[in-house]
Amino acid sequence: MVNVLKKIYAFPFLSAVILWLALPAPFVYVYFFISGFRQNQVRNFLYIQGKAIQFAICAASGFNKKIIKKSAPQKPSILIANHPCTYDTFVFFDFGIKNLVCIAKGWPFKIPFYGKFIKKAGYINSDNKTSEEIIKEVQDKFAQNLHIGIFPEGTRKKEIGRFRSLAFKISIETGADIIPFVIKGLEEMLPPGKYLPKQAPIKYIQLAPISPKQWTTVEAGALRMAQYVKSIIISQL
């Protein structure tokens, strides 16, 4: 009986929260427009949005969501995760990380309101940029004490896909640690192409930071580091 109630509860709750998040966007946009789109404010808004979505995901899981944290990163780092679901971008917020900007392809920047918010929050659009141009932008973000979030698979995949080397190239070039996060269960709840959540247990795991030092002198170090980090994530899935 409890399980049946949990299943009935999950979908309307998730829909209501997402609707609630979408409705205030025009009003918040007007506020930000008047106040001059201050980056910190916009990032805080995205953080609140993300926390609400994480709460909705928790409810949709039947309150079967576990978060395994390590201590918060002290210096600007590159946060990476596998990418089974649309809502993965908000996973980092569940670890209390607010000072974050993500590197994303162009399409999220075209989403009404949200696209404008992430642009104004300082997220990096990787479309039509060389890795050198992206690294330069990342260095500017690090100077502002911001972490960089990136999904090395590039696109959502139910089964873990190839890790592209950009995040690891950035790590090697800047010396910033990679902090891997593992997302389990969202591939069942909200797989790519599905919009109705299915109840599934969720687990987010923060892994220990990985220094790029051992790959700085290796040929094709970024590719090798990508393969190593992927293997670490797979071992937790």
């Binding site: 060389t130 890795s131 896909g161 190839r162 592209r164 080397s165």
Partner: protein, 85 residues
């Protein structure tokens, strides 16, 4: 000196291994972007992988920018191997 068949096999094996591509997708007219799902950022990795596989230096130039399909790449590598032969 490597034959064209050896070059094709080395290119295909290296790309399949490093970019997790499926053997059935490795057709000569396969476009890197549309058919193999690679993007401009992958091009950097591809250069590194091919430089390692053929022990040659691939320079960023106009000719490299024109490589769109696997067949273009086979031709480019074949010429490069001949030059370095």
């Amino acid at each position: 000196m490597m034959t064209r068949e050896e070059i094709i096999k080395t290119v295909n094996d290296s790309l399949m291994k490093e970019f997790e591509l499926k053997p059935e997708s490795m057709k000569p007219d396969a476009n890197f972007f549309a058919d193999l799902g690679l993007d401009s950022l992958d091009a950097v990795d591809m250069v590194v992988v091919l430089e390692q596989a053929f022990k040659v230096k691939i320079r960023k130039n106009y000719e490299v920018g024109k490589i769109m399909t696997l067949n273009d790449l086979y031709n480019y590598i074949e010429n490069l191997v001949k030059e370095n032969g």
